[in-house]
């Protein structure tokens, strides 16, 4: 599955603990996502749903066949992001993200986001937007 993607340049280059997504879970992450299916790619944000108990970021990712796949990336609770100071305007459509995570066991283009980096090197959803 991993070789399917063009942009596998980041192999867990940023710390797993930098983004403790699953510390805000309402369900067992290890049940939904597969630790044997790490993903790492660059994507373009198409939408973010500021929902609870998990917000979702949707990104377009081009695979090795030139097809664009829209991935759903599960992240923290919207309430958690709001308390950290993040607001919907901080992640506009079109933002390029370097992404790491684990794919869902059911092999849909769905993943638990473990880390995401903005083009300027800032970590998405680190403690504050600035």
């Amino acid at each position: 599955m991993i070789s399917f993607f063009k942009t596998i340049t980041l192999l867990l280059t940023f710390s797993l603990t930098s983004f403790t997504n699953n510390a805000f879970a309402h369900h067992a992450f290890a049940a939904e996502f597969d630790r044997d299916k790490p993903i790492s790619f660059t994507g373009t944000v198409t939408e973010m749903k500021w929902a609870n108990p998990h917000a979702w970021i949707y990104v377009d990712v081009e695979n090795s066949n030139g097809e664009v796949i829209n991935w759903a990336l599960e992240t923290r609770a919207a309430n958690n992001l709001i308390r950290l100071g993040w607001r919907p305007a901080d992640l506009p459509v079109g933002t390029i993200l370097q992404i790491q995570g684990w794919q869902a066991r059911n092999n849909t283009p769905t993943a638990s986001l473990s880390a995401a980096m903005l083009p300027d090197g800032r970590s998405l959803f680190s403690n504050s937007p600035n």
Partner: protein, 514 residues
Amino acid sequence: MSPYLFIFLVLVTGTVSGQNLPRDADGKPDLQGIWRPVNRASFDLEDHVARHDMPAGISVIDGETIPYQPWAAEQKIQNFENRASMDPLNNCYLPGVPRIMAMESPFQIFQTTNHIAITFEWQQVYRLIYTNGSPPLYAGIESWMGNSRGHWEGDVLVVEVIDQNDKTWLDAAGNFHSNEIHVVERYRLIDKDTIEYEATIEDQNVFTRPWTIQLELQRQKHMNGILEYQCQAEKEEENGAFERDENTWYPALIPPNNEPFDPNAGQSIPLPTVTEEVSRLSDGTPNIGGYYMADAGGANYGLEEHEREILLPPSRGQVIDPIDGILPYQTWARSERIDRQLPHRGYDDPTAHCFVAGVPRSHYVPAPFFILQPPGYIVVLHERMSWRRIALNGEHSLPDTIRLWQGDSIGYWEEDTLIVESKNFNGKSWLNEVGDVVSHMQTVVETFTPVDENQIIYRATVSDPIPYTRPWTIEMPFNQEDEELLEVACLEDNADLQHLKDVQDEYRQNQNTE
């Protein structure tokens, strides 16, 4: 009734009885109690004839009809025709304000100087109305129930509701609004058992002018407390999406091969030491009201200590009795606990379905909670939507057959520790995501000891003869913060559940083909 007559009656009766109204310690009319609207407004705010799913009713609107803009009047007709599928309540979503106030079920109001809480049976939603004059900390963040700020104008409680989203309806007939809705409610106690309730609705996107509804709320004198209506859980149990666990759900029996349960095993652990003087209420009890977040140390990922794994946060272990930190499982229940951590069982965790977390888990799911201390009660409002009502110095009032997610709780102060005893659980809860087991036979004794101005040391002792051989106790601090609750409308986008279902379905399919 003509609106003029209505207003006349309100004014006259309000004036006449105002001297004898029950009042709180601040001299404000005391709204605390259990109330229920007397009307057909939950079906349709406007005049309506009877239909199969809808008893007839007279308009509760001042002016009889809703002043829709032309396009919105068309939309309302569409909504009405498609109400079976479109009514948000048919998907168990949160009702919004004022619809929640007009629904058939009773609700309970708790009143303090700085906050008024209203707890509802529907999905165990609540409203926390700030009456302390503070501006909303998160203005502009939309939610299903909005943000309520109140103040007293003489003997009338006036509540402004802002930041509601556009997903709720105003009744079951498809009357609707946009996210520009602004609601001003007026609660006027006209005698000790009656509240005249008004809500003025303004929404420039949908209506041509502000308009007002009037409801009469009657005190439910025969009730000790309201119950629970977990709409989504009931729906999923009925359609088979949430399956019965014969080992734990009421009225499961103690398995015949269980080791005997020793209720007296365990340590006598001294209560935590109070390190500095805490603030107190006028009756001398510690003031523990406010916003808290548990320093839970990963209790939601296992009550026994374990290291971090990929996709599983660590737990520092919260069990203080037994001293080895290991839960005293019956053999079969330990096996069940191990099985529940397998991927195909993730779907079975009730919180993955957005159901209530139960006790003690509600306190250590990764979400904050708010404690209120109205006269006679401790009320806990959990951001991950549910509430607990703890009656002080009372007796358990429920028959054995009534079983609740949050149980039936009574409490009392022993020196500076609040002790809470709970029973009548339904046995549907898991204690965390890895599936620590609890059954309907659990009784829980919790202690809340405020050790300084900003911290409570919390303990919960669980006695449950179905999965365990003896009682056990966990401990964790609750830290008070200067914060406000937000809303977790968990059902609004619970995309995880289908993924978890796929994993379970695939597992079961493989089992069947083997």
